[in-house]
Amino acid sequence: MTTRLSRGLGLGVAAALAVSLSACGASDSSEGGVSGEDYDGPAVEVTFWHGWTGGAAPTIVPKLIDKFNAEHENITVKNVPQEWADINSKMPLAVKAGKGPDVAVLHGDDLATYAAQNLLQPADEIIEGLGYSEGDFPPDVFEMGDFRDAQYAVPWSVTPLGLFANKDVMKKADLTEVPTDRQGYLDALEKLKAAGVQGEWVDGYVFTGTFEFQSLLWQFGGDLYNDDVTEATFNSEAGVEALTWMTDLVDKGYSPKNVAQDGNIKALLAGDTAFNWNGVWQTTNTAFGDLDWAAAPVPQIGDEKAVWSSSTHWVFPANKGQSADETSAAATFVKWMNDNSAGWAETGELPAANTVREDPTILEKYPNLEPFMEQLDYAHYETVSPGINEANALITTAINEALTGKKTPQAALDDAKAKADAIIEQNQQKYGD
């Protein structure tokens, strides 16, 4: 009961904080003159917020920061890791109060939400000073930081989906090659079925049914929203085709019914299934251990190549009374981190900076990353629009309803579209347009 009580109190505190903070005025951020040169002003402390609390990150990040601090006499970076969800609930209020970080890493789908609320500094000058442009990152990643004609973010990492295969299980059906196209994939699933194996277990949760659906939707030529994100379009013919492909996996017996969350990756590890569409982050999953496994690009089921990917980005929060020196020092830190991001592959994320990622030594050390890098030419990233995650959540609901047989794919997606449109309209009022 204490946990429940404290949770309730937490909500109350957050509300109280929110109210007292909202009294504070708007942020009047001054922009620092930033050049490609290292920051050379007076000694400053730079506060850095990020959500890397799991995997290898908690040891890598402090090491990188220590190294940076040692190399830069006048800059001390203060490392503040916390859960992503906590960042999202704390940062808006902290920035408004002038107590937010000087630099932070955010997920791509949150950038617009933050930018629309004037929580981030328009960073065109900073980014120009650092010498970054679109061509320094995989296609479409840099542009995600662009909101209403200003650039707010510098890419840091990308995390595409891929196909994980258990080769021991594939052997049961005499399969040696991981399939790459629709026919090959169907043949493999059919052979596996004949050998008594359900080849791909499909689930109706964000991880990773939603990512699979989005990949398929793009492959069939559809998109989640229209160009200016005023309407949801995931219930298009392509969307229905994508979701039907997933429900067919169950109907045709290639997947069991009612797979629980993470049930499919567990099954792959346990040798109960051959294929799993999962994120590049799984390459660092120690549970693979001695398993004979392989990663490959997701097979092309639709008419074109496409795959879901998420991304993370550096941002410069527009704290109330933000010091130009601290922002300038933060920019130096961002540049240094990107230049030294080769070790980031250890966390199972791909460094966004092309120069770093394309360095052959990374693949020598982490050969499993190759298929994921290959896919970056045609990867699709998350939608950039303020408050869009509330609408995105409805996609998962629709997939879940279709896979549990509550609704047909068409009906589930239509219902989700109707609700998503209402939320998009609400967002336009909430965040302005």
Partner: protein, 326 residues
């Protein structure tokens, strides 16, 4: 509540110090003692006011505005947030009432088990049996776990294909593909089961304390009158537990109505949004989607429901105990 406490603590102090003969000084002394009592209460009061009363009042204000953490000034919009909840077709109403239904269903399904099971265990443990302390610890142990741990443990147990539970059922020739955390109605069975396993220990301990408070003479008398076990239970044990019972049902209803973690972790609110509880929806709207104003309005609607239920429950049980006493 704080004032009640002050009154009850002040009274015994009065009795001890207030000797006959010292009547002349009594009002001053009483005032001083009252002051001291308030002084002792001050730290709690300060916390209570800062973290409960003030946010609660602010919450009412938020629910009457189009509050957004990103605007500098907030506009008063009257009862619109509340009216939206009762207007079919608004962005919040269908989802909110759907989540209230989930919460209501969970309360109705879980509270009987959360009262009866602990009562049964408490009665068993109250017998002079060997290893009672051991079993008491065993039954209480899950309660100390955090909901995150509970979620992880049970997601392994409940997995449709590779879960331990389905595997065991399969060994006994029972269906081994029950979607425990994926599809209705099994999701409700799982959520209630996990909650009983997790929190029954607390109610058990409270019932045990209540049982120890029942005068043993009554059991002796019942035995002399030839009452059997069942008769003794219904005529001595249950009436003796009445005050404890009021406390337990009230707190258990409130706790169940605040269910969040179990469905957040085990079912993700699924299938669809079937098991998304009111608290889950409110937290999502307020903290994740920045719709703080509608979320506050929802909190107050939920609060109104819980307040009514608590008062009704209290009245009903008090009347029953009054009837029993007369």
């Amino acid at each position: 509540m704080a004032i009640d406490l002050a009154a009850t603590t002040a009274v015994p102090a009065d009795r001890i110090v207030g000797r006959p003969g010292g009547r002349g000084r009594r009002p001053a002394a009483r005032r001083r003692r009252t002051l001291i009592a308030y002084l002792f209460l001050a730290p709690f009061l300060a916390l209570f006011v800062t973290f409960v009363i003030v946010p609660a009042v602010f919450g009412v204000w938020i629910s009457l505005t189009n509050w957004s953490p990103f605007r500098d000034s907030q506009d008063f919009i009257g009862l619109k947030n509340y009216l939206d909840l009762f207007t079919a077709g608004s962005t919040t109403s269908a989802d909110f009432w759907n989540s209230m239904r989930a919460t209501g269903l969970f309360v109705v399904l879980s509270v009987p088990f959360l009262v009866v099971v602990p009562l049964f265990i408490a009665v068993l443990l109250n017998r002079k049996l060997r290893g009672a302390t051991f079993f008491r610890t065993v039954f209480f142990a899950p309660y100390v776990l955090g909901v995150a741990i509970v979620g992880v443990i049970w997601s392994y147990v409940f997995d449709t294909q590779s879960g331990i539970l389905n595997h065991l059922l399969g060994l006994f020739g029972l269906p081994s593909d029950t979607p425990w955390v994926v599809d209705t109605p099994w999701v409700w069975v799982s959520l209630v089961g996990v909650t009983v396993w997790w929190t029954a220990g607390l109610n058990t301990v409270i019932f045990l304390a209540g049982l120890k408070g029942i005068n043993t003479d009554l059991y002796e008398a019942a035995a002399l009158d030839g009452a059997g076990a069942a008769r003794t239970f219904f005529s001595v044990t249950l009436p003796g537990l009445r005050p404890v019972m009021i406390f337990i049902t009230t707190t258990t209803i409130l706790a169940s109505a605040n269910m969040f973690g179990q469905s957040f972790l085990l079912t993700n609110g699924g299938p669809g949004n079937e098991t998304r509880t009111a608290i889950m929806y409110i937290a999502d709207q307020g903290l994740s989607q920045n719709n703080m104003a509608p979320a506050s309005a929802m909190s107050y609607v939920l609060f109104a429901f819980l307040a009514i239920i608590s008062v009704v429950n209290f009245r009903l049980q008090r009347e029953r105990s009054e009837k029993a006493a007369s």
